[in-house]
């Protein structure tokens, strides 16, 4: 099978265009933060569109899982990264060449760019040849690359480039500057005078000293004096410089298009794995979710809000993981409990897990069985001033109406803290109506609310609660559990707390 793309197995699965906006729920679920962090520093690849297009076909997801599993091999990932680094510096060098004024400069930079390209292709072909690949995507790409690297077109380009680079590196010359005259000659092994001075004073050396070397402003552009020197150096080595000019004219279109596209698309995986790496080092787990578009049984262990974890990691704070499951006829999780207890985070986590899974990505958690949805619909209420109560309630209801209108039995609905600003009676009434409606639709739903009654409406509903430490009610565990926890606290003796019992000290002091 011929290689099409590392993200889409065939052309039919590709999205119609490359430019689409993030989905509506991106901000509510903090997915905008996640994608911004993933793509940061990789703007040249324009990766965001790939993160805005979710897959609805289990095999398309599997195609990506395979590639990502292959890339979890650290060696392979590094090979891909050094390939990307080489092409990046190639592009940079070409940009430089365009900006230069003197011909000899343009030519030298073009030669560097082609050299970087050849080196990158050659190395990647060799590295992939040795790699133990399993994925359809990378196996098929390897075939393509191997053929290309063995082609005449490529091998002769490589040989000629190496030869000319080697020739250039042999050029060495001297300048004798006296008054306003510069005399250029070939270098004739004259003694290094700075080394001579260092040698004389070696006996005084006392370790590190200040660096007195002047930092010259390294303009990449030659000035006319340097250009005059360059002309004389070229005149001393005429044969080399004539060959280089001819080479540059012959090889203007050297870059292969399919390889160019691979370089961009593989970054989808690289960027995501790079984003996960520090979290994994901090001990957090990620897994390939099992996805079904039929069964709504969900089961997730030790998952967390990815955006929050990223933020907490930067602050060196602990990330609290949560489990949840739905089985049988259960469809709706109603989350209640004390404020600031992690309810909203839980709701976001639920949405993120499903969305990331639909991209073919690893998801937070030790294991995850998730649902392959047709769409995600969210409504996150916000703390509002009391000024425009009626207006806000109206907006909320309009939005809820839209959600219920679009939702199908394949959809995921996440409603968070709505009706907070209404009267309790209104809130109960409206909440009940909406939950009943969602139950009828049969969609999966997480509903964060302060209204306990909503959790008791029917058998499709499961109640979950944010928990506290019973002895210190101000402390939150950030755990969301299906039933209230006992919160058994244990007391430690004060010396034990500081590791100062006899036994502890004995262990702490190394003999």
């Amino acid at each position: 099978m011929t290689f099409h793309s590392i993200l889409f197995e065939s052309a039919e699965r590709r999205p119609p265009s490359d430019a689409f906006a993030p989905p509506d729920f991106f901000v509510d679920l903090n997915l905008d933060q996640i994608v911004a962090a993933i793509t940061a520093g990789k703007e040249e690849y324009n990766l965001a569109p790939f993160f805005h297009w979710s897959l609805h076909d289990a095999d398309a997801v599997l195609y990506r899982h395979e590639v990502m599993r292959d890339l979890e091999d650290a060696d392979l990932l590094n090979h891909i990264k050094s390939f990307a680094g080489a092409l990046r510096s190639m592009r940079e060098t070409l940009k430089q060449a365009e900006k230069r004024y003197y011909r000899r400069q343009k030519e030298a930079l073009f030669l560097d760019a082609v050299d970087a390209y050849c080196g990158a292709i050659d190395l990647l072909a060799r590295n992939l040849g040795l790699a133990d690949l399993r994925s359809r995507g990378l196996l098929s790409f390897r075939d393509y690359l191997t053929d290309y690297a063995a082609s005449d077109r490529f091998t002769s380009l490589l040989a000629e480039t190496k030869k000319l680079k080697a020739d250039l590196s042999t050029v060495k010359y001297t300048l004798q500057i006296k008054g306003g005259a510069i005399t250029v000659r070939k270098y004739a092994s004259e003694i290094d005078y700075a080394a001579d001075v260092e040698e004389t004073f070696r006996k005084f050396q006392q370790g590190a000293v200040k660096d007195y070397k002047a930092k010259f402003i390294e303009s990449p552009q030659m000035n006319h004096v340097e250009a005059a020197v360059m002309d004389r150096v070229a005149a001393l080595h005429l044969d080399i410089f004539v060959k280089i000019s001819a080479y540059c004219q012959r090889n203007v279109a050297y870059l292969d298009e399919t390889i160019g596209a691979f370089d961009r698309e593989i970054q989808f995986y690289v960027a995501y794995l790079d984003y996960l790496a520090p979290l994994r080092r901090a001990g957090l787990s990620f897994c390939y979710p099992a996805l079904s578009s039929r069964s709504k049984a969900l089961r997730v262990h030790d998952a967390f809000d990815l955006a929050l974890a990223h933020k907490l990691l930067a602050e060196r704070a602990t990330v609290v993981c949560n489990d949840f499951y739905l089985s049988g006829a259960e469809r709706i999780l109603v989350v209640s409990g004390p404020n600031q207890g992690g309810k909203t985070t839980f709701a976001r986590m639920f949405g993120q897990l499903h969305y990331l899974a639909s991209l073919g990505c690893l998801v937070p958690g030790v294991s995850a069985q998730l649902f392959l949805f047709d769409r995600i619909l969210t409504h996150f209420g916000r703390e509002e001033t009391i000024d425009n109560l009626r207006g806000k309630l109206q907006d909320d209801l309009v939005r809820i109406y839209e959600i219920l209108d679009q939702a199908t039995a394949q959809s995921i609905i996440i409603v968070n803290e709505i009706f907070n600003s209404t009267t309790l009676q209104d809130a109960i009434f409206l909440g009940t109506k909406i939950i009943e409606r969602i139950t009828e639709i049969g969609a999966l739903c997480v509903c964060v609310t302060f209204i306990d009654e909503l959790s008791l409406l029917n058998d499709h509903i499961v109640s979950a609660v944010s928990t506290i430490v019973p002895e210190r009610p101000a402390e939150r565990t950030y755990r969301i559990v299906r039933k209230p926890a006992d919160g058994l606290a244990y007391a430690m003796s004060i010396a034990e707390k500081y590791g100062l019992t006899r036994r502890q000290i004995r262990e702490r002091i190394k003999s």
Binding site: L175, T183, V184, T200, F204, K213, H224
Partner: protein, 501 residues
């Protein structure tokens, strides 16, 4: 070239981070008083004293190496001060040679470096002279090595080769620079070269073919060209200017090192002179190995207390060889804290190679010296006093190792006696198991007496004395812990004088 006056085989590191327990040591042993006596108002001497004293030595040989040098120093105070002054003069004169321009171009750096080098030639000659003149009056290994080194390294022909460089650096024939092609064919790797000496005979010169050469001349009024050409020249001079400036710095840091190492001994001279004025004795201590347990002294006094009072300070005697634990109990203001401090100070002074404030003093060296004193003020509102004490103790446990010395002063008294005693017992017994030597001033009778009753063979008990009339002698005697601490006396003294509040 190295001075090697602090260590036989390495430089004194004035910038070394102080041990983590330094802040507590300075506070608890009142080390600032000691440092001030050594510094006599000189900030630099103060810094050196602080660093040298707190970076303790752990080997007997290392201690003796410094003790020998210090004996030479005490015998030749004038020569030492002369050498020290020379290092200061060198630094001051170097400081006055300013860069000609503010540009820091290689040409101006080179010009200044040449001037500085000329100064150093003069000062090095003087330094060598002092050594040659006085060498017979010194007997320590450290000073003999230093003077021999100056004699060997600074011979006359060496000074001649330096002057040869100073002449070449005038560049009468222009500068010769080599280069290669860098990124984008820009010139790179510029290096100053020494032109090949010309062939001797004119016949050889005529018959050897000249290598091809192309010359470019700066057009008149091409100002940007002139500055580009100047920059090329500077690029060529860059490395040599750097090499010469760094060589100057190396010589300067040799003088700086010599200054730092002499400064410690100048500090010792200052201290000796002030103690002599007060008629207080000093002696060189006898160090024993880390693993041994030795502590025997006579007339040991608190050197810091000496500088805070006009009275002569009472010394204590003790024989606590083969003991691991010294427990001090007894009367308030009976001299317990002073005693503990004098112990810590003498140990510290011995371990940096100094003399000690005693008629005689012998102790094993310790791997670290720690203090855990009860702090009067509550540092934070958050944690209780006992919490604060325990957390400090925990920090010590993190840093401590076998053969360390740990001095506790009224520790763990922030709770009731039973609890405090239990904590003290747990901690003390674990530390003893780990071969840590402990001095413990305490009011925790339950703790002190349980150690006494168990008759642990390696402990010794001292008591602050008071005479029958209630006057304290400030002398400590061996004796079992007593249950009362004479707080009543203090109450009577203070309240008695003022009447009931």
């Amino acid at each position: 070239m190295k001075a090697f006056l602090m260590h036989r085989d390495r430089d004194f590191d004035l910038d070394a981070a102080l041990p983590p327990n330094s802040e507590a040591l300075i506070q608890d042993l009142e080390l600032n008083v000691l440092f001030n006596a050594m510094a006599r108002g000189d900030r630099y001497l103060y810094e050196v004293a602080r660093t040298a004293v707190l970076q303790i030595l752990r080997g007997e040989e290392e201690v003796r190496y410094r003790q020998d040098i210090l004996r030479d120093v005490l015998a030749n105070p004038l020569v030492i001060r002369q050498l020290y002054d020379l290092t200061i003069e060198t630094r001051e004169r170097e400081n006055k040679i300013h860069a000609w321009m503010y540009t820091h171009s290689p040409s101006s750096i080179l010009a200044r470096s040449v001037q500085v080098l000329q100064l150093f030639v003069v000062m090095l000659k003087q330094l060598k002279g002092i050594g040659t003149y006085n060498v017979q009056r010194f007997s320590s290994e450290g000073f003999k090595t230093l003077f021999a080194m100056l004699d060997r390294e600074l011979k006359d022909d060496y000074f001649i080769s330096i002057e040869d460089h100073l002449d070449r650096l005038k560049f009468r024939d222009g500068v010769l620079i080599s280069a290669a092609l860098g990124k984008g064919n820009k010139g790179a790797d510029y290096k100053l070269r020494r032109p090949k000496d010309r062939a001797k005979s004119w016949i050889t010169r005529l018959t050897t073919p000249k290598p091809p050469a192309y010359t470019w001349r700066l057009p008149p009024r091409d100002e940007s060209g002139a500055s580009a050409l100047g920059e090329l020249r500077d690029r060529g001079l860059n490395l040599v200017a750097n090499a010469l400036a760094q060589s100057d710095d190396h010589i300067l840091s040799f003088f700086a090192m010599l200054r730092a190492e002499l400064a410690f001994y100048v500090g010792c001279l200052n201290l000796r002179e002030q103690l002599a004025k007060k008629g207080q004795p000093i002696s060189f201590p006898t160090p024993a190995a880390l693993g041994e347990r030795k502590l025997t002294f006579s007339g040991l006094y608190d050197v810091c207390l000496t500088f805070k009072t006009d009275r002569r300070v009472v010394g204590n005697d003790l024989n606590a060889d083969n003991r691991d634990l010294v427990i001090v109990t007894g009367a308030n203001q009976g001299g317990k804290t002073t005693f503990l401090r004098s112990l810590g100070l003498a140990q510290l002074m011995m371990q940096c190679g100094m003399f000690v404030p005693a008629e005689s003093f012998s102790a094993n060296l310790c791997s670290h010296i720690f203090t855990h004193y009860r702090r009067e003020e509550d540092v934070t509102m958050k944690s209780g006093k006992l919490d604060e004490e325990l957390s400090r103790c925990s920090e010590i446990v993190d840093a401590i190792a076998p053969d360390a010395l740990l001095l506790f002063n009224e520790s763990f008294a922030a709770t009731n006696e039973r609890e405090g005693s239990e904590i003290a017992r747990q901690i003390t017994s674990a530390l003893l198991e780990k071969r840590i030597k402990i001095g413990f001033v305490t009011h925790l009778y339950d703790f002190a007496h349980s150690v006494y009753d168990k008759n642990i063979g390696t402990s010794i008990f001292l008591r602050a004395e008071r005479q029958a009339d209630g006057e304290r002698s400030f002398k400590l005697r061996e004796g079992e812990p007593l249950q009362t601490a004479y707080g009543e006396d203090l109450y009577d003294e203070i309240f008695g004088a003022r009447g009931d509040p």
